[in-house]
């Protein structure tokens, strides 16, 4: 289906119209591409949940395009979450004395990593690295500057950028 709803439709009517005409389309499409019913169904339902939460739903003129876009983000986050978890566990595997987190701890951990990752998204690698040295290791700016080959005042700027990013992320 395409086109804006007639004026006077309420939000729920529009949503159920989209659901009736496009949910199966999206799920089928995801199933075809992902080849796995479970994951496809998960992505499709999460996508609809996010569509339903859009504040300006009535302004969506092409529901299928919007669903596609949201589904992309859902997939991106799924993959990103998996990547973070994998790199974390890979790194942990290299530390012989490390205590390996339980499944529950792991879930909390991955969500924390996702939140930090989202906040730091868009920062240059050096700024991220500097921030992590400060936050995780408590290094001074002079020490960080030495490791990264930059001045302490540069590290100061990186830190200001990273903390600003954290503030902005908290606003969302």
């Amino acid at each position: 289906m395409s086109g804006a709803p007639n004026s006077g439709w309420n939000r729920n009517e529009y949503l159920s119209l989209i659901f009736r005409s496009d949910y199966r389309w999206l799920a089928e499409r995801l199933r075809f591409r992902l080849g796995c019913g479970f994951q496809a169904e998960d992505v499709a339902s999460e996508t609809f949940a996010q569509l339903a939460a859009l504040p300006n739903l009535e302004a969506v003129r092409e529901p299928r395009a919007m669903l596609t876009t949201i589904a992309q983000r859902v997939m991106y986050e799924t993959w990103r979450r998996r990547d973070l978890e994998r790199s974390y566990l890979d790194a942990l595997a290299n530390v012989p004395e490390a205590v390996h987190p339980s499944v529950e701890e792991r879930a909390v951990l991955v969500e924390s990593l996702m939140a930090i990752d989202r906040a730091l998204d868009g920062l240059p690698v050096k700024a991220r690295t500097a921030f992590l040295y400060s936050q995780l290791d408590g290094l001074t700016y002079a020490e960080i500057g030495e490791r990264l080959g930059v001045s302490a005042s540069m590290v100061r700027q990186y830190m200001a950028k990273a903390l600003t990013a954290c503030y902005v992320a908290a606003e969302l």
């Binding site: 859009l54 997939m75 973070l84 790194a91 924390s112 700016y141 503030y167």
Partner: protein, 312 residues
């Protein structure tokens, strides 16, 4: 990065930057506490930042692992990450064709662990020590005992005696000691065995054993040997060659397209012409010209990006 205009926020950040520097004095800490307590908005700005930093508390147990995870190379196509989502969605919604194409590309493994671009082959070592070569324009993800192939083609040279498997949309190809290639087509996959033997399990069909030199077509419901195809020819791409015998021009053009940026359009009138021969993959201009000499076709180069093959 958005600039934050609010002077209170800027001050809060300035304080936090100073206190983490390693050169802050106890006086600074006291002055900060005073500033923070002097106005609820000061406290609020600090709390916000601390809320995000609080996420680090659970990660503190393994700082190096946390660092490694957060600094790991990000997958490309960050199109929809972060806060620009709704805006980007609004813009893209006007070009649903483009969204569709991106979506297909995305789901076909744009974020895959192993990826090759147009005209590039790549050799990687898998966790069990097996060596995997990716053909051009291919995508695969690591999984528990091998890889999931999203698009394109891989060749696995098995080094260890552990099981290694390639999962495609239609089924699973596994071996304990074999050299084999798997290509994902639209709707089926093709398996070619150069050494040893492999087991093929269609997602909804009967298992089959494929031996050295054999080629099979794998569909979701069944797997079928293809006696007319040779495993040697199917894997000629490893040497940068396209080796075909009695294949349609459309199929040959599709294989060449992986080695060229842009499109190759084959006119319907000539798409069914049969092609046999060995052609270099790494010089597609030459191969296309060669095709123009042996077949009754005309090769029209409309810029480097669009090549049309038409009836002569």
């Amino acid at each position: 990065m958005e600039a934050v205009q609010d002077p209170i926020v800027s001050q809060a950040i300035e304080w936090m930057v100073l206190l983490r520097s390693g050169t802050a004095t106890p006086c600074d800490a006291q002055a900060f506490a005073g500033w923070r307590g002097s106005d609820p908005r000061h406290d609020e700005a600090c709390r916000r930042i601390e809320g995000v930093l609080g996420g680090f508390s659970v990660c503190q147990a393994a700082p190096d692992a946390t660092r490694q995870a957060l600094l790991a190379k990000r997958r490309t196509l960050k199109l929809l990450a972060g806060s620009g989502v709704v805006v980007a969605a609004g813009l893209l919604a006007r070009h649903s064709g483009m969204v569709d194409a991106l979506f297909d590309e995305y789901l076909a493994g744009s974020f895959a662990d192993y990826r090759t671009g147009t005209g590039k082959r790549e050799v990687v070592t898998l966790a069990d020590g097996s060596i995997m070569t990716l053909n051009a324009h291919s995508r695969a993800d690591r999984d528990a005992d091998g890889v999931t192939l999203w698009m394109g083609e891989v060749f696995v040279q098995h080094q260890a005696s552990r099981l290694v498997a390639v999962q495609t949309r239609e089924g699973r190809v596994s071996a304990t000691r074999a050299d084999f290639a798997v290509r994902q087509f639209n709707g089926f996959s093709r398996v070619a065995v150069l050494a040893g033997e492999v087991q093929i399990n269609p997602v909804a069909g009967v298992q089959m054993l494929l031996r050295q030199g054999e080629v099979a077509c794998l569909r979701a419901a069944a797997c079928e040997r293809q006696a007319q195809l040779s495993a040697q020819a199917e894997t000629a791409w490893l040497d940068g060659l396209l080796q075909v015998s009695d294949r349609s021009l459309r199929e040959v053009a599709a294989a060449l397209a992986d080695y060229r940026s842009g499109f190759i359009r084959v006119a319907d009138a000539v798409a069914g012409l049969r092609v046999s021969g060995t052609f270099p993959l790494d010089d597609t201009d030459r191969t296309l010209s060669a095709l123009g000499k042996v077949l009754p076709v005309r090769i029209v180069f409309n810029t480097d990006y669009l090549v049309r093959i038409e009836a002569a």
